[in-house]
Amino acid sequence: MAHPKENRILLKHADEDYYSTDIDCYLKYGGYESLKKALTMKPEDIRLEVKASGLRGRGGAGFPCGVKWHDLVDRKSGKPIYLICNADESEPGTFKDRQLIHKDPHQLIEGTIISSFANDVKLAFIYIREEMPLGAKILQKAVDEAHEKGFLGKDILGSGYELEIVIHRGAGAYICGEETGLIESLEGKRAYPRIKPPFFPAAKGVYQCPTVVNNVETLCNVVHIVRMGGEDFGKIGRPNNTGTRIWCVSGMVQNPGYYEIEPITMKELLYDVCGGPLPGRKLKAVVPGGGSMKILDVDETYKDRDGKEFGFDDIIVDYDGIMAAGSMSGSSGMMVMDDSIDILEALGNILAFYAHESCGQCTPCREGSLWTKKITSRMCTGGAREEDLDLLLDLGKNIGGRTVCPMGYSTTWPIESYVGKFREEMEAKVKSNTCGMADFDERLIEK
């Protein structure tokens, strides 16, 4: 059930008892009306609507969707344009796309069809991660149903427009969420991200053709942009952070879950919506945008551009608000830690993930991620040395920004922020050699 502070647009029906994934149910509640409207428009006009809406990508980087569509996609080469829906949602702490796929698959299909139409695409892919077998099944059923009803295939609804959607399952690698890694994987190769330049997908994507890659939530938003019109959609939220965002709150709050909200403050989200910390506990830190983003200390004070100071509670939960606090909203996976958490252990946990998921293509991330993981594992199992914290920071510095893809930062940013903000706590633990709890999860240590 929706919380009163939520503004559910994408998830409007998702959790209601009356709602199912059937196409009939979707049609009953106004489904595919946006598509019908879109097909009466010119593709270019849809792109301009999306640009006017200010919709930013929900995948992590927050790049304006309309700019990508209208200004960057190479339409001069004469090559076919492809669209890929990035449903490889694998950032730690993020589970919004799964809800959209599992609970309202036709919304995504409709968004994909409209977006394909807007970009003159005749073949679209939905790349869904291996770990979502049910989602893939649901989507395939939805695609088949849409075919039956004439929303897909040749001459969609008599408009002459033609589109096929291929549901492609990944093989279980985090790096496939990086768009060029995804494209390589889709082409049947090892998911090594491509070097940019020259391989910007908008110019040279899948099969070396211009390709539009968008996140699930982004594509779902397109349905509502077409329905409302770009300008009206742009009134939701605040300027440059338009629309709602689905935040995945996990960890030590009373009501973890996914919440579709317009920008509100951190205090409102964590205390009002999520019910605050567990009884008798105090919040300690929050990772705001999925595991790779910089951690926020709840006791910190931040300065905005005008030099005005503000506290953690006042951070506005959207792209710019979290950016102002020195982190990023990323994939909107918000992980909350309270005072029961050993911060060094948390760092070890997150580094273990990125060491496990480093694709191994380029040197700094491949060697650096495992090395830093080995250090934190050792520190957490009683072998901490005083110089380890500085070593971690230095290694982190040698990874981020020197790799093929942005994943290098996934190791650098946590190290920088966890060690930077909780150094005293860590140093105390190092000195007393009480890092990590006795039941440190051995499974995290790769054999």
């Binding site: 090594y192 380029c362 040197t363 491949r366 060697e367 510095k397 020197r402």
Partner: protein
């Protein structure tokens, strides 16, 4: 940015402030190298696609700044354009020269990047240089010294990987040494056209492997060993045989086919240990076939002829040559030359043919399948040399049946054969028995045993000279090791025979032969000394009508007429 140079199609790039004129799009590593600035790299290879994975070539990149609003150039106080450098480093190998691009190859940030990458590469590296064949020519070893910190901060357990994986009959993999640069994978895909290598596993546990059911057995597999920047891929032939710093290398040519791959022959104390390709962008790039690397084994092969012979007896070279001259003074001399002789030897042979008024001059043709890369259909290295020296004027046939008929008819009574097995070339032993045979050989062939005189000669590794490849490119090869004590240099032997037959002096060294060759004719103006290492293209148009056998290969397109004739 001198304006007057504008129309030469070149652009200005600034390497550490130094202006370089280069073609637009040239790889920055190459641009920097052209002015003597080394940008260290592992995965980049000039003849392979860019993969950008080692991150060793990180540089600082900048462009002249422009005001965002007005588009006007931003200037320094002195009026020079202000160069805006990107905040982060960029890979040199993935950067192509653009007008007025500025590159820093030795700034503090660049040095720090290199040190960082070096430290990462060494973290899980076994550091087993003392037992590694690559030591001495290892990029990792060199760059660790020049760009590394000199000490290790790594105190964790190193990853353990397989040390001896057989990738194919000639290539062995040590996984722990592998830095995952993917050069070998790209080589197999892009050059050898035999996509058998790939990585399995992920992250630091990534492992090079052959695809299931496949092995690295193509005829170019050893090139992966050459381009491996570390000691991960080693040659099973060369493995553990010799430390590379003891070896001296001499420039040579692969004699297998008419492609004429440029090679280096690596030897120590008169013994050859390996042959590697030598870069020639017009012929073989940096590659050569595996088959050509084994030719050195002929030097000490079991059929090697160590002595000259007269009949059954071993004799000195001078006695054998005297006997040969005696036989060749007779009537009805036929000459069987070889497409594997050098231009100089063919020139001497041509002189002998004229002096003896030879009733027939032949070459034995050898033809096989071409692979479209660096093995051509013509398995003689120097048929075009024989054509250009005038020894022959048509393409050789595989069988000497014409000579056989002349022997049967009694027209031919003496045969001078150079480096050819007449039995293999189609003469019967009876036919050979009918004539007096003077045989110049390095190996003991079936016909060698039937010869009246055998002059033991030298392999291409033991002599110097020139050969002309399928492109009509004349290329030099040099002596790498001395020949056996009982053998005589082929050119010396042929010159001695000619001088004795004609009773006039004849040049017996490569340089002196070239004094004559360079005077007039197709080689006019050339000398052995003046031919550069990459060879000289000669005018072969006089032979354009001949139906040469070669198909398309790496840097060779057959003439249209030749294709049509097939």
């Amino acid at each position: 940015m001198s304006e007057e140079k504008k129309d030469d199609g070149l652009i200005s790039v600034f390497i550490d402030g130094q202006e370089v004129r280069t073609k637009p799009g040239t790889n920055i590593i190459e641009v920097a190298a052209s002015v003597g600035k080394e940008i260290p790299h592992y995965c980049y290879h000039p003849k392979l696609s860019v993969s950008g994975n080692c991150r060793m070539c990180l540089i600082e990149l900048g462009m002249p700044g422009r005001d965002r609003a007005t588009g006007e150039p931003i200037l320094n106080e002195d009026g020079s354009p202000k160069i805006m450098f990107f905040p982060g480093p960029a890979i040199g190998c993935g950067t192509n020269a653009a007008p007025n691009m500025h590159v820093k190859t030795d700034s503090d940030m660049v040095k720090e990047c290199r040190e960082g990458v070096t430290e990462f590469l060494l973290a899980n590296h076994p550091l087993d240089c003392p037992i590694c064949d690559q030591a001495g020519e290892c990029r990792l070893q060199e760059f660790s010294t020049s760009h590394g910190a000199g000490y290790s901060r790594f105190v964790e357990q190193k990853n353990v990987k397989p040390k001896r994986t057989r990738l194919g009959p000639r290539v062995m993999l040590d996984d722990e040494r592998c830095i995952l640069c993917s050069r070998c994978i790209r080589f197999c895909q892009e050059v050898a056209d035999d996509d058998v290598l790939g990585f399995t596993d992920r992250g630091s546990y990534s492992t090079l492997t052959c695809f299931p059911g496949k092995q690295l057995e193509n005829n170019y597999s050893l090139n992966t060993v050459d381009i491996c920047p570390v000691g991960a891929l080693t040659s099973t032939d060369f493995r553990f045989k010799m430390r590379v710093w003891f070896l001296k290398h001499v420039k040579s040519i692969d004699f297998e086919t008419s492609v004429g791959c440029n090679t280096d022959v690596w030897a120590r104390e008169g013994k050859i240990y390996r042959i590697t390709p030598r870069r020639n962008d017009e012929v073989n790039d940096t590659w050569m076939p595996d088959s050509g690397r084994e030719l050195y084994k002929l030097v000490d092969g079991e059929n090697r002829l160590p002595h000259c012979k007269a009949g059954e007896a071993n004799v000195s070279a001078s006695d054998a040559l005297a006997k040969a001259v005696e036989l060749l003074k007779g009537e009805g001399v036929a000459i069987v030359g070889s497409g594997r002789c050098s231009v100089e030897e063919q020139y001497a042979l041509k002189a002998i043919a004229e002096t003896t008024k030879a009733v027939g001059v032949y070459l034995v043709g050898r033809y096989g399948d071409d692979d479209g890369i660096l093995v051509s259909r013509d398995r003689n290295a120097n048929v075009r040399g024989a054509l250009m020296t005038g020894l022959i004027n048509s393409l050789p046939e595989e069988s000497l049946s014409d000579l056989g008929a002349k022997i049967d008819s009694g027209e031919v009574k003496v045969v001078l054969s150079v480096k050819e097995d007449l039995v293999a070339a189609g003469l019967s032993k009876d036919q050979i028995a009918k004539v007096k045979l003077v045989s110049f050989d390095t190996q003991r062939y079936a016909s060698t045993d039937l010869a009246g005189v055998v002059i033991a000669g030298l392999t291409p590794f033991e002599r110097s000279g020139t050969v002309i490849n399928q492109q009509f490119r004349i290329q030099k090869f040099h002596k790498a090791v001395p020949g056996p004590a009982g053998a005589v240099d082929d050119l010396v032997a042929l010159a001695t025979v000619q001088a004795n037959l004609s009773e006039e002096s004849f040049p017996s060294t490569v340089a002196s032969v070239w004094k004559q060759l360079g005077e007039s004719g197709p080689f006019e103006g050339l000398s052995f000394k003046s031919i550069p290492d990459e060879g000289v293209l000669l005018d072969g148009s006089a032979f354009g009508a001949l139906p040469f056998a070669e198909g398309k290969s790496l840097h060779f397109e057959p003439k249209q007429e030749a294709v049509a004739a097939e």
